[in-house]
Symmetry: C2
Subunit: 447 residues, 2 copies
């Protein structure tokens, strides 16, 4: 709409437009941002038939192109899925405002007041494969957090994404948020251009396969929020409650095997291997899990008569199957298990099952991962389950934000000082006045 | 010492050693880390004469090599400067422990408890030019925060850095911290190798010139904490208290002109330019400041008889002088000033002087920088002045940590969940049990 009678803008021009719109969006009051989200939800509801029709056209083209079943499943956006996405927009509007939170409030000296306040990052670049409902969700999260957003959908979802973004633009035109705050790119060339716009884009959020995320991480200087691999471990210690261990292993592997927080490797203490492995193996195979056992784990599993069984190779320890396959390794106690996890893990989420509090404490302290769990399933690693209300992604980076990231991953902070003509010279040299550094209540009045 | 009878280890081998040592250091209690710092301070005191002698040899070689005066000043480590650095180590030991802070404590469900706890990053890579006292300070900060550290000093400071790190190793050999947690590299080839070790190093902290920091940022995938440019602005609004504005301008430019938080550009509203510029110009020139004025600012300064005066070019708006030079531009009110700052600024620290609360609020909200100040000098942008106790660096990145960064920049966090056999299946599907998401006091008992 915005470019009906003009030349198609370049990614650089789009990024500049978005940045300009984002600066205005950043200082809007929360009610204006939430109102824009409600307008978007209403407009999507009104245009639902047109969006579903656009998606049907994308799906028909995808079938003609021989798209894989998995990708097709993610591309498909029927009325029910769309209604779910619209409800998600309204949920995001109801979340607490992430902007303007006082993180520090300190009197440096009489009349010299420091505050650290959360503020929007600026412009987000969101690159996703297939799933057009991701465009709806991420546009909502961006507006909620006061950020402009450039959406890059897959070519296969171009008709759907265009219909969605046009609807969002129509809705925003009636609100205080400029339609230019939400932009859409659709070609692969534009993705490559986008990754180079580090002057205009503050954070890239990729949504897609491991290879896709790794490609993005390797080809941009812009910070990337997310993770490529999710190689999660469950370690069953010698002093584990074995019934719990079986229930957790089955849940962590089979409850949603393609999730990043599903386990890929089961580590079992040598002392209990002969007793525990046949039981857990039977429970897993009842759910259709193929087992890949190391030399020590193989014999007890074979003796138990399990069939869907192979010998694990070194490659298995660093493979994310995202499928009903589990590697199994026998270890010699906690040190061995922790060393294996810290070497092969991806820093996502790792769990121990044990009734020994000292061993549990060692595991929780020494395993270097965003999530370290004791006596529960790795499947809890999720922003909604943590109570964050929304999930932007799960980060396996060492620096914060780490682990499941909610809206706080889309904001930064600035330090504000308000003085009354204060200068630094007063506080230096032989007659330096000392600072007070007196902390004040976050929302208290400044004296 | 550690490699007396073996081949010189490669940077990769050193990084692996450091990582191993760091894993042990990470789980030591605070008293063990603080005790190690006290042992280092004592040992440095005992070896002071040898360290000063090593520095004299470095300085003599530097003079023979024709090192610049500025670099020589930073290289020189006499007894007084060394005592200051040793006192700094003891100060770091007394800081609150940055590890194990509970940032979130939440009951997800009965018996399923989530905590977010601060923990060390892992291994730091610290690359600094000349200043050997930086090695002492940063080793102390690393040990305090539970991190291993690989120090890379300049070749010109090799003798001094070696004497310092050997002393630190001797001290650590008597403590719970492995000497391998602190390592030293000295050649340029090793720096290049270090920047590629993203598997072993979690954060790079550069200490040196803008060009040096930019080189490092451009040549590593490891996160870099710091900033290249510090292009700070002072905007004097039409409703400014002009005496305050003059005092702040003089302080912000001249109190320490080579500091990154000194101003490079003064923006003055057109409405007061004729009255204000001659006054502020005289005050600045009394301190020896060269003025580079735009077309509108030049005439009133020239008419006032100021001599050390030039016409500013576009290049001036994006130059960090780190010297007694100030660019001056006349602007048409807050929108113009904010647009200039957001275009040319480096996101470090920018200040406004005004008695108009509404304009001040607009400036503080709309300027996109780590520090936004009202009626005070930009020179307050400093970790010690903010009350952080120690300063790791000042970041102009958009993502946190941003602005002056204390010890919190050297830690990350992990999510811990302790359950009692909880599985995710319980909370999904048609009979899904709802989560409680009940926040608990940070240090309260888990129910």
């Amino acid at each position: 709409m915005t470019a009906s009678f003009t030349a198609v803008p370049t990614p650089l021009e789009i990024a500049r437009q978005t940045r300009r719109a984002a600066r205005t969006l950043a200082v809007l009051p929360p009610a204006a941002r939430d109102g824009a989200l409600m307008a978007i939800a209403d407009a999507l509801e009104n245009q639902a038939a047109a969006i579903v029709a656009a998606n049907e056209a994308d799906c028909a083209a995808a079938i003609a192109d021989g798209l894989s079943n998995a990708l097709y499943g993610r591309l498909k956006l029927d009325g029910v899925k769309l209604q779910g996405a619209i409800a998600g927009v309204r949920d995001v509007a109801k979340l607490p405002d992430p902007i303007g939170t006082v993180q520090l409030h300190r009197q440096l000296d009489e009349g010299l007041i420091l505050k650290r306040l959360t503020c929007p990052l600026g412009v987000l670049g969101v690159i996703f494969e297939a799933r057009p409902d991701a465009a709806i969700q991420i546009a909502a999260l961006a507006i909620k957090s006061g950020n402009g957003v450039i959406l890059k959908g897959g070519r296969e979802a171009a008709r759907t994404c265009t219909a969605i973004v046009e609807t969002i633009h129509q809705a925003l035109a009636t609100t205080a948020v400029s339609p230019e705050a939400v932009q859409l790119l659709t070609t692969r060339e534009e993705t490559i251009a986008l990754l180079k716009l580090d002057e205009y884009i503050d954070l890239i959020v990729p949504r897609g396969s491991n290879e896709f995320v790794r490609y993005i991480q390797d080809n941009t200087r812009i910070p990337v929020l997310g993770h490529a691999d999710g190689i999660c471990h469950l370690y069953v210690h010698g002093a584990a409650d074995q019934d719990r261990a079986i229930a957790i292993a089955v849940d962590a592997k089979t409850q949603y095997p393609s999730a990043c927080n599903a386990i890929e490797t089961l580590l079992v203490d040598r002392a209990i291997a002969a007793e525990f492995l046949p039981q857990v193996g039977r429970a897993l195979q009842a759910k259709g899990v193929e087992l890949r056992a190391d030399e020590a784990a193989y014999p007890p599993l074979q003796t138990a008569g399990l069939t869907n069984l192979a010998i694990a190779t070194d490659e298995d320890w660093s493979t994310e199957y995202t499928d009903l396959i589990l590697a199994i390794k026998v270890v010699d106690g906690p040190d061995d298990a922790i060393a294996h996890i810290n070497h092969y893990g991806s820093g996502h989420t790792d769990a121990i099952v044990t009734e020994d509090a000292i061993v549990a404490a060692q595991f929780l302290a020494e395993v270097d991962a965003a999530g370290v769990y004791h006596n529960c399933s790795t499947r809890f690693a999720d922003g909604f389950r943590y109570g964050f209300g929304a999930e932007v992604g799960i980060s396996t980076a060492q620096m914060p934000p780490r682990g499941p990231v909610g809206l706080e991953g889309l904001v930064t902070y600035k330090y504000r000082i308000v003085g009354q003509g204060h200068i630094a010279a007063t506080y230096s040299g032989p007659d330096a006045k000392p600072f007070q550094h007196q902390d004040l209540p976050p929302h208290g009045d400044t004296p």
